[in-house]
Each structure stands twice: as C-alpha cells, then as structure tokens.
C-alpha cells in the first residue's frame, strides 16, 4: 500500500480520488473520507496557508506509515491545499480504504487528528476589514491527537 500524498494549490475532486483508490479492486469493503473546509468565522474573507516544503511530505508520509501499521489499509490518500482559500473552499482531504468499516473510519480520524498537530502547515486569516491574524494552535487539537497514544 503506497499512500498518495499531495500538497497543492488546486482544488481536489473527491469523486475522482475515490475512483482512483478503488479502480480495478474488489477487496475494498469500506472507504472513509474527511474533507476540511474553510469556515467564514468572524467575517473571514480568506485563509492563506503556507507550509514547509520537503518536511511536510516527510511528516505526512510518517503519519501515513503509522496508520498503515495500526490498521489493515488497502489505500490511503492525503491531499492538503496551500495558498489563498476563500470561505467554503475545501482545504484538506483524507481518504482511507480497507476491507472493513472500522479500520477505514478509525484510520481516517487518526490521520486528520495527526495532520492538525504533526505536519508543518500554518494558517493566516484575512478579514474583510483588512485585518489579518495567524491562527493559533488549539489545546483541543493536541488533546485529539493524544487520544491515539496509549496512556
């Protein structure tokens, strides 16, 4: 199982990515997907995402590898957009395929939780007023990641 990992400015197509993961296969019994979208909180006009090229791909590949060790995955796609995104635009896609639903659903949640805290992306918010601010990391995201680590 080789994960498909892409960092790109362009939008992604969930139907095309699903077809790509299942094409020609008869062993996939469950697909789970997570799509993160840009919300228009507090009059947000746009979100600008930057990342650390090179390290981003390494970090996501490591997270994908850990997911593949914990769950019997048959396919895995992670696409994260960068650049300027307006409210309503999709930001991130996590797509997991397995023989059964539990592995697909759990691994999908694991990967998006880890992406929030373990991959080098940063979001800057631009508001209609012209103001801008960097999004701050949330303790809730660390807690979501921590739940995947045995106590």
């Amino acid at each position: 199982m080789t994960p498909r990992i892409a960092i790109q400015e362009a939008p992604f197509d969930l139907a095309a990515e699903t077809a790509r993961l299942t094409a020609g296969r008869r062993d996939v019994g469950g697909l789970a997907s997570f799509v993160g979208l840009c919300r228009a909180d507090d009059g947000l006009a746009a979100m600008v995402l930057e990342h650390y090229p090179g390290m981003t791909e390494r970090a996501i590949a490591r997270i994908a590898g850990e997911a593949a060790e914990r769950w019997p995955l048959l396919g895995l796609t992670v696409i994260h957009r960068v650049g300027r995104l307006e409210p309503g635009a999709p930001i991130v896609l996590v797509l997991t395929a397995s023989a059964h639903r539990t592995a697909a659903l759990e691994s999908c949640a694991f990967i998006i939780d880890w992406l929030k805290t373990g991959a080098p992306f940063w979001k800057r918010e631009e508001f209609a007023s012209g103001a801008e601010r960097w999004v701050e990391a949330k303790p809730a995201d660390d807690a979501a990641t921590a739940r995947w680590t045995p106590a």
Binding site: G36, Y52, M55, K116, G118, P120, W122, W134, E136
Partner: protein
C-alpha cells in the same frame, strides 16, 4: 548552516531563510535561538517568546536540546495549524 523561518517568525525576522555560521559554543537548538536573537531587532522580536517557538532540524521536529551542527537545515516556526 541554513536557517528557515515560517509564518509570523518569518515576518518578524524579515527573511524566509539565511545562511549562518554561529560560533562553536552554539551546540543545540536553544543555543542557536539565543545567538540568532542577537542578530537584529527583527530576530529579537521573533524569538522574544521562546515557549511559542517550535523547531525542526533536518526536517524533523526537534526540542531545545537537540544538537545543531554545520551543514544542518534548521527551521523555526510557531505551533502548526494545518488540517
């Protein structure tokens, strides 16, 4: 060594990356931060709040005690906010 800055750390320092040659007593990430902070007012502002700074050495997350050496690629940035 090559030092990269991201997000508000980059904005405060004023450049995205720079090549630096710190003195031999700079041996770890914390020591490098102390040394970089003295390079300009922008560097000082970027590194004023040390607990808010995260680092990577050769593209892996690294804590303050992680060693640094000539030839390394070292990055400084705020806590990540992707996903």
């Amino acid at each position: 060594m090559r030092v990269l800055y991201f997000a508000w750390v980059r904005q405060r320092v004023g450049v995205a990356e720079e090549e630096v040659s710190p003195p031999p007593e700079v041996r770890d990430v914390a020591g490098l931060i102390d040394w970089l902070a003295g390079r300009s007012p922008g560097h000082a502002e970027a590194f004023a709040n040390r607990p808010a700074i995260r680092a990577a050495v050769n593209q892996d997350f690294a804590g303050p005690g992680h060693p640094v050496a000539a030839g390394d690629e070292i990055a400084f940035f705020p806590p990540v906010t992707g996903g």
